[in-house]
């Protein structure tokens, strides 16, 4: 489906493309349906409908000078640019823009790992570098560093961090934006700016002290549209010597509250890596009577779930703990966790799992041998990027709503009930929120739950249900103080609308900034729900 940029006719578009070719060469500008297929959001819930967002063209610069020149060309022609690093955050929009007719600025050619410093544990990369690229650099040089990567790992550290993506190792590395340190940005007028210590010529600590002096604007470039990030630094975890896994189970529904408190303590004290909560009772979900219980309107009571657990001979909850560090430290941390939890929760049990020295062998990565059914994905837990996640993607993909909630058992029970009841309106979708739904501990200090209905390219009716359910989830969650942390362009306005304190003061502040530096909306208008004056009108 060919589209034109806003306010531009075919002749103007052709002139604009000619100017782009003059910057990057004729081989690095694309337009037309066949070439632009790669820039569609393959996971779009509005695939092949009038609502689907399409880019008009794509351009791939080789360096920051070309990025700057492209921005100046776009400014002259008033054409919105939509920057992508590798464009693979499917489920969150992939490479497709907020505004129809935007031109994708594809940073894939800027794929240099500029520095990896083992002794000081940081990396500086360009946006086209993928987690695989960074991992390969570290592996081939034999550096004792660990990359905290998302799953799948084909995205870029720059893009994932700027979308506030998450990982699966130690708490402060899982927050990928939080683990960044220093960035270089092309501003909407084409100027090149560096944040933090990078603003000082000759500074030697750009990737070690994030703030420099004065206000730190780096947060504006995450989920924002105030510039195009062309370099970014990251803190890396020194490769731990040892990896240890263990399982704790607790018998009763209400035990989850105490279990969460203990795990929070372990997490916040830096004693554990990511954890996987679960329920052994999931083994009963093929039983229709049991399914009716855990999906009943108004939620399940403690007594009801405890009775079902007792009848099944299973505990209500489990948590898989992972430890990284020196071997003795992982052992002592595990003993501490076990003693602390078993002393406080009656009937809690502990099981020791696999443990081995790092780096792991291919066999250890590919074939975990746990004495329980484990939800841990071994590679991502050890900072090894993988594409295996795609084996679990059914239909043609999925969309995702990940509400942020407090790290308490009570909050988990409330979300199970509230969103479970709200989603009864969509009976053809799986019951993502039920009495066994456990939280994700991807963020450092909050929980998330997951709602990820599938989409099918050949079934618009199914997609419409998923789309409606997503919007309902955002709305109902916000009524209870649970906000989405990340969204595809098609949902960004709805999500931004829920962050409405004091008559949308935050959005109005963002709009003032946008109007001041990018009134024509050259950089990703609409991203993060921030629209410049030109598009608000």
């Amino acid at each position: 489906m060919s589209v034109l940029p806003p306010d531009l006719d075919a002749a103007g578009f052709a002139a604009f493309l000619d100017d782009l070719r003059a910057v990057v060469g004729p081989d690095w500008v694309w337009s037309g349906d066949e070439d632009m297929h790669a820039y569609r959001d393959s996971f779009s819930p509005v695939w092949n409908t009038e609502q689907e967002r399409h880019a008009s063209a794509a351009v791939a610069p080789a360096d920051v000078e070309q990025v700057s020149a492209i921005v100046r060309v776009a400014r002259r022609h008033r054409v919105p640019l939509f920057p992508i690093s590798t464009g693979k955050n499917f489920g969150y929009g992939g490479p497709s823009p907020n505004v129809n007719g935007s031109v994708v600025i594809d940073l894939k050619r800027m794929n240099r790992v500029l520095e990896v410093n083992e002794a000081r544990a940081f990396a500086l990369v360009e946006p086209g570098v993928s987690y695989f690229d960074l991992y390969r650099e570290i592996e081939e040089r034999g550096l004792k560093l660990m990359v905290d990567c998302p799953d799948p790992g084909w995205g870029s550290p720059v893009g994932n961090s700027l979308d506030r993506g998450v990982g699966y190792t130690m708490p402060h590395y899982r927050d990928h934006f939080g683990a960044h340190c220093g960035m270089e940005v092309v501003l909407p007028d084409g100027e090149v700016m560096r944040t933090g210590m990078g603003a000082m010529p000759g500074a030697q600590t750009w990737q070690e002290y994030p703030y420099g002096f004065g206000p730190d604007p780096s947060g504006l470039f995450a989920q924002g549209n105030f510039g195009i990030v062309t370099k970014m630094g990251f803190r890396l975890l020194p490769l731990p010597e040892y990896y240890r896994t263990c399982l704790i189970t607790v018998p009763k529904r209400r035990d989850f509250v105490k279990l969460v408190e203990h795990v929070n303590y372990l997490n916040d004290s830096g004693l554990i890596s990511e954890v996987e909560y679960g329920s052994p009772l999931r083994a009963k979900m093929a039983d229709p009577q049991f399914m009716a219980l855990i999906t009943k309107v108004g939620g399940v009571s403690d007594a009801e779930l405890d009775a079902a657990a007792e009848a099944a001979g299973l505990p209500c909850w489990q948590v898989e703990l992972q430890f990284l560090g020196p071997e003795r430290a992982t052992w002592e941390n595990w003993l501490h966790a076990k003693e602390r939890i078993l002393a406080d929760i009656s009937g809690a049990q502990a099981i020791e799992g696999e443990h081995f020295a790092l780096p792991a062998s291919q066999q250890q990565l590919d074939h975990p041998q746990q004495p329980w059914t484990s939800a841990i994905k071994r590679k991502r837990s050890l900072g090894v990027p993988s594409l295996g996640e795609w084996k679990i993607v059914r239909d043609d993909g999925h969309i995702g709503f990940f509400p942020v909630l407090p790290r308490t058992g009570e909050a988990v029970f409330e979300m199970q009930r509230v969103l479970g009841d709200a989603m009864k309106e969509f009976p053809t979708l799986p019951p993502f929120f039920n009495a066994l739904t456990t939280p994700l501990m991807w963020h450092t200090h909050t929980f998330q739950m997951v709602f990820a209905p599938s989409i099918r390219h050949d079934d618009p009716a199914h997609n419409a249900i998923s789309h409606a359910a997503m919007k309902k989830c955002v709305e109902v969650a916000a009524e209870h103080g649970w906000g989405d942390y990340r969204a595809a362009p098609i949902y960004q306005d709805a999500v931004a609308d829920t962050y409405s304190f004091n008559n949308h003061a935050l959005r109005r502040f963002h709009e003032q900034l946008k109007d001041a530096i990018d009134p024509d909306g050259i950089i990703a208008p609409g991203r993060g729900g921030i629209w410049p004056r030109r598009f608000r009108a």
């Binding site: 081989d27 894939k108 695989f132 993988s386 795609w390 084996k391």
Partner: protein, 130 residues
């Protein structure tokens, strides 16, 4: 990409399009490597002529990381495969980033809810044409 190559790869995909076991014996010529997704049957024993055969079971990580990522950084290199649609989605997306496209594909009958596809990925961008 020139028309002669398109015709060649189209014919190759046709050769790959039948039942996997029968197709394999005719598929070797013109490919640098053939990928077989063992979820749809084992093909290791088949003589593939000049083409190297790499097998995997749904997860393309190792094959892509160890072989394709390196090969796709250089000009040339034609890859064929009989894989799940899920694996092809991953490979196609990665190939696009390195100037390559699926130039032929045939969807086969689904096995356990996953449709195997026979396909050819070839360089199309001037920067990677041989």
């Amino acid at each position: 990409m020139i028309r002669r190559d398109m015709l060649k790869w189209g014919a190759l995909a046709s050769a790959l399009a039948g039942a996997p076991a029968a197709a394999l014996a005719r598929a070797g010529a013109g490919l640098d490597v053939l990928l077989l997704d063992t979820r749809f049957g084992e093909g290791a024993a088949v003589d593939m002529g000049a083409a190297r055969v790499l097998t995997f079971a749904g997860d393309v990580t190792r094959i892509w990381y160890d072989h394709l990522d390196r090969a796709w950084r250089q000009p040339g290199f034609v890859v064929g495969g009989i894989t799940g649609a899920d694996a092809l989605f991953v490979l196609e997306t990665l190939a696009q980033q390195q100037g390559r496209k699926v130039v032929a594909r045939n969807v086969l009958a689904a096995v356990d809810g996953i449709a195997p596809v026979s396909w050819v990925i070839a360089p199309v961008h001037p920067s990677v044409l041989a």
